[in-house]
């Protein structure tokens, strides 16, 4: 009760307990995967993988992490700084448009760029025809390579860094940067010595999200035939038929990610004292001439590469060939995708609020630790999550069926896995961290002193929540929901295997065609995914441009 004086209400043990319980439920599939390490197994698959492919996979994964990390950080930070701190022609458009690549699934970008840049694609064929070259006469970078995969991930994942870094620049670095400039520092010096260090926790958090997404990816790297750690998991599971070794590899992946998270947490923790309410952004430094042009190009390149060009290419493909099933069926696909995404987004926001408050109000560190554990799900490939979810959920399903059977006399079959509930659960395990991160950072803006002030002004607990917390949190909740919505729209592996009968989505439609090597025909469904994701992304960007 000692903290009661610092909070508007006594520590609600119930809330903490409920939050911890939810976190435990969400961490269960992750524990199922991680628990495999203790089962043992023959070790034969491990020995084989270690002796043959694993070293190469680890090296590739290392390059992928390095390349993607540098890529998203460079694009995200530079664009965020330019749009937040400077003024140049087109800035107002870039401000929100730079988020658009988020609507693209990385695997779709991979298809599009391969089609454009491969040996038989229009660019290389055109060069050969124009110069009369043959294969041996020229060098052209291979898009289906580790470097290509880094480029694809950087282009679709930089918005995570952009969003977070921009908020940080606007919130804290703005007024300080003004002070720095008043003290005689040039713009570059201000950026390097004041803005960047202050925005670092946000940048690290954004890069962390992007890297986890890249590590969990299978679609892009398998299409590029870039062998990564995740490929190794699937090799053990599918080709070698060793489910246990696959789970153990996934557990090893989790351990690496946990390490990244600890580092991220530490870097965030040290900067916590700097967190405060949003400051009024300082005046933007106007850029002219060549500088304005450079700023304009810096923002245009990622926007073009991540959205405009692939969007145009997809449109062309869809018009030239397109999906023969395009028609009323697409309304159903879109409805299914949107229902799944919306249900998950709402659940994710509610759970994130519960978990964030539980961690804030708890006296022990346990809830905070549990929240970090839940966050690990983001780095697990969708198929691995699916298995991790299927094992406990089907057990529960069997118990449920038996109980209902005893009660009513006839067995209802599998209720959870037969509907969308198990699938939504899988999404939550995978994506909750995205919502949680957003809600937690929003909640960090509500300092204990604000609670005290509200209380001393005579506000009740409810009134404090409604008049202090809600206005400050509202935006973060919206961001959280939108991020999860867009992610679920794009999700493929868990959707494929966990959906109910006759329940196709835009992503599964694109997959069906792409796995039959009908990429041009898959363009229609891919475009529809992007289109359906655009609305929330535009909402998101409108929100940031107003912030």
């Amino acid at each position: 009760m000692s903290r009661a004086s610092r909070l508007p209400f006594s520590v609600p043990h119930g809330l903490t307990a409920a939050g911890s319980l939810c976190a435990l439920i969400l961490a269960l599939p992750i524990a199922v995967v991680a628990g495999s390490v203790f089962v043992g197994g023959t070790g034969e698959t491990w020995a084989h993988l270690l002796a043959t492919v694993l070293p190469e996979f680890l090296a590739n994964t290392g390059w992928l992490v390095l390349g993607t990390g540098l890529g998203v950080a460079a694009i995200g930070v530079s664009c965020a700084w330019l749009t937040a701190m400077t003024e140049f022609p087109g800035r107002r458009v870039f401000e929100w448009a730079l988020v658009l690549p988020m609507a693209f699934p990385a695997y779709v970008l991979a298809y599009v760029y391969t089609d454009l840049l491969q040996f038989v694609g229009p660019v290389q064929s055109g060069l050969r025809a124009f110069f009369g070259w043959t294969r041996a006469d020229y060098w052209f970078p291979d898009v289906r390579s580790v470097g290509g995969a880094c480029a694809m991930f950087s282009l679709v994942l930089y918005p995570y860094v952009y969003l977070l870094a921009r908020t940080a620049f606007l919130a804290r670095a703005g007024s300080l940067a003004e002070a720095a400039r008043a003290a005689g520092l040039g713009p570059w010096q201000t950026f390097r010595r004041v803005s960047l260090p202050l925005a670092r926790p946000a940048v690290v958090a954004g890069v962390g999200l992007a890297l986890m997404e890249a590590l969990a990816d299978f679609g892009t790297v398998s299409y590029f035939a870039v062998q990564t750690f995740t490929t190794g998991i699937f090799r053990a599971w599918f080709s070698l038929g060793d489910r246990l070794a696959a789970a153990q590899l996934a557990a090893a992946l989790l351990a690496c990610v946990a390490l990244i998270l600890v580092l991220e947490q530490r870097s965030r923790g040290r900067a916590r004292h700097a967190a405060g309410p949003r400051a009024r952004p300082g005046e933007r430094a106007p850029l002219r001439g060549l500088r304005a042009l450079a700023a304009w190009l810096t923002c245009l390149v990622p926007l073009t590469g991540g959205f405009l060009l692939p969007g145009a290419l997809l449109l062309r493909m869809a018009f030239r060939e397109g999906d023969a099933q395009f028609g009323p069926r697409y309304l159903e696909l879109m409805r299914n995708s949107v229902v799944l995404a919306a249900v998950t987004a709402v659940c994710a926001v509610l759970l994130a609020v519960l978990l964030a408050y539980a961690a804030r109000l708890a006296q022990s560190r346990l809830p905070r630790l549990l929240n970090r554990l839940v966050g690990l799900g983001y780095a697990l490939p969708g198929s691995v999550i699916a298995v991790g979810v299927l094992i406990p959920v089907t057990q529960l399903d069997h118990a449920l069926a038996a109980a209902l059977g005893a009660l009513t006399g006839h067995t209802p079959g599998l209720l959870l896995t037969g509907g969308i509930s198990a699938l939504v659960y899988a999404y939550l395990v995978r994506y909750l961290t995205v919502a949680l991160g957003s809600v937690e950072s929003g909640l960090a803006r509500v300092t204990p002193s604000m609670d005290e002030a509200a209380r001393s002004l005579g506000c009740s607990q409810g009134a404090t929540l409604a008049r202090v917390h809600w206005p400050l949190l509202r935006g973060s909740l919206l961001t959280a929901g939108l991020l999860v919505f867009v992610d679920v729209m794009k999700e493929l592996p868990a959707t494929l295997v966990m959906r109910p009968f006759n329940f196709d989505t835009l992503a599964t439609q694109a997959y069906t065609l792409a796995s039959d090597e009908r990429l041009a025909e898959a363009a229609t469904a891919s475009l529809a995914i992007v289109a359906a994701g655009l609305l929330p992304v535009i909402l998101l960007s409108r929100r940031i441009s107003r912030s």
Binding site: L49, R144, A386, H398, G419, P493
Partner: protein
């Protein structure tokens, strides 16, 4: 939206509660849009409604395993014999006794538990300008140093290559297969990437001289409405490999009834339907595969153009068990 949700949430319940044999629950890894017509015909002919989940086969197998005795799935169909063998090994299939299936499907294309309904061949495709057809008449020749920097092939992790490896192990033994894989890797024109269609296009454009591809991709490009597809296929020669030895490797699309199938009668009906003339013609026409039932009259210009060939007649249940061994060999050989 509200109603949809409730319907979706209760989907499991309503499916299981409905009277047996007016419905059939299908878990399928076939990914061909043309199959829709096939399923509609079955529904029309029998009045049995087909409910489908299409997904990647290994993940579906996990789902079936976990669902256990309450699994709603009646039939599992896929496009790769090694996965059918895996399902069999896991004890997921129930034996099917059907005079129709036994009389129509040749003995080497079925087991007690599962049946092949269509076949596809792993063929060699070569660039007619860069390569002499005589140099690429067998799978073994692809490992000949003569073809250095000429060979394109998709990932060694892909089931289509693994089943070829498994067949080769069955015919030639592991040592020879490994030597072959090493020779093949030494001949790569580029690191394995893309799908079979990509390999064919790369051969046509001269990025590589020769490639392995599944027959239905070749046939599909022959029938394509896109001019550049047809131009590409005109630039390549297609070889039936190993006509003088064990025959061209074939993989199958097939399926079986699951042990805990709630609609067993419908499941057998469906499997028998897949062996009917109508369905067999559909496989040939819709997806350019060969029917497994002999004597079915096929009208497909691309398949006719490809002509008859000697296919590997090794018992499909036997070849399909070597996939894991093939993967280990490919890994050691560096076929990524």
């Amino acid at each position: 939206m509200h109603k949809t949700l409730i319907a979706a949430l209760l989907a499991g319940a309503s499916l299981a509660a409905s009277a047996a044999d007016t419905e059939l629950n299908l878990y399928s890894a076939r990914h061909y849009q043309t199959d829709d017509a096939l399923y509609r015909n079955f529904e029309k002919a029998t009045g049995i409604k087909i409910n489908r989940i299409e997904a990647q086969e290994d993940a579906l197998l996990e789902r079936i395993r976990n669902e256990g005795a309450s699994s709603p799935a009646d039939v599992f169909i896929t496009v790769d014999a090694t996965r059918l063998a895996k399902a069999d090994e896991l004890g997921l299939f129930a034996p099917v006794k059907s005079a129709v299936l036994e009389s129509r499907i040749p003995a080497h294309l079925r087991t007690a538990d599962w049946f092949a309904f269509s076949t596809r061949a792993r063929v060699i495709v070569y660039n007619k300008i860069a390569i002499q057809g005589a140099d690429v008449q067998t799978y073994e020749q692809l490992a000949d140093p003569k073809l250095r920097k000429q060979v394109c092939v998709r990932s060694g992790m892909h089931p289509y290559n693994l089943s070829l490896g498994a067949a080769m192990i069955a015919h030639e033994g592991e040592a020879k297969t490994e030597a072959w894989a090493r020779g093949l890797v030494a001949n790569f024109a580029r690191a394995p990437k893309g799908g079979d269609t990509d390999q064919i296009k790369a051969v046509a454009a001269g990025e590589c001289g020769v490639a392995l591809a599944n027959s239905y991709y070749v046939a599909r490009m022959m029938r394509s409405t896109q001019a550049d597809d047809r131009r590409a296929i005109e630039a390549v020669g297609v070889v039936w490999p190993n006509q003088q030895s064990w025959g061209t490797h074939i993989n199958v699309s097939g399926g079986g009834m699951l042990k805990h199938a709630p609609h067993k009668e419908a499941a057998v009906k469906f499997l028998e339907y897949l062996a009917s003339d109508e369905a067999q013609i559909h496989f040939a026409d819709g997806n350019n595969e060969w029917p497994t039932v002999t004597g079915v009259k096929v009208r497909n210009p691309a398949l006719e153009r490809l002509g008859p060939f000697k296919a590997d007649t090794l018992e499909i249940g036997r070849t399909s068990r070597g996939a894991a061994a093939a993967q280990r060999i490919f890994d050691r050989a560096g076929w990524r």
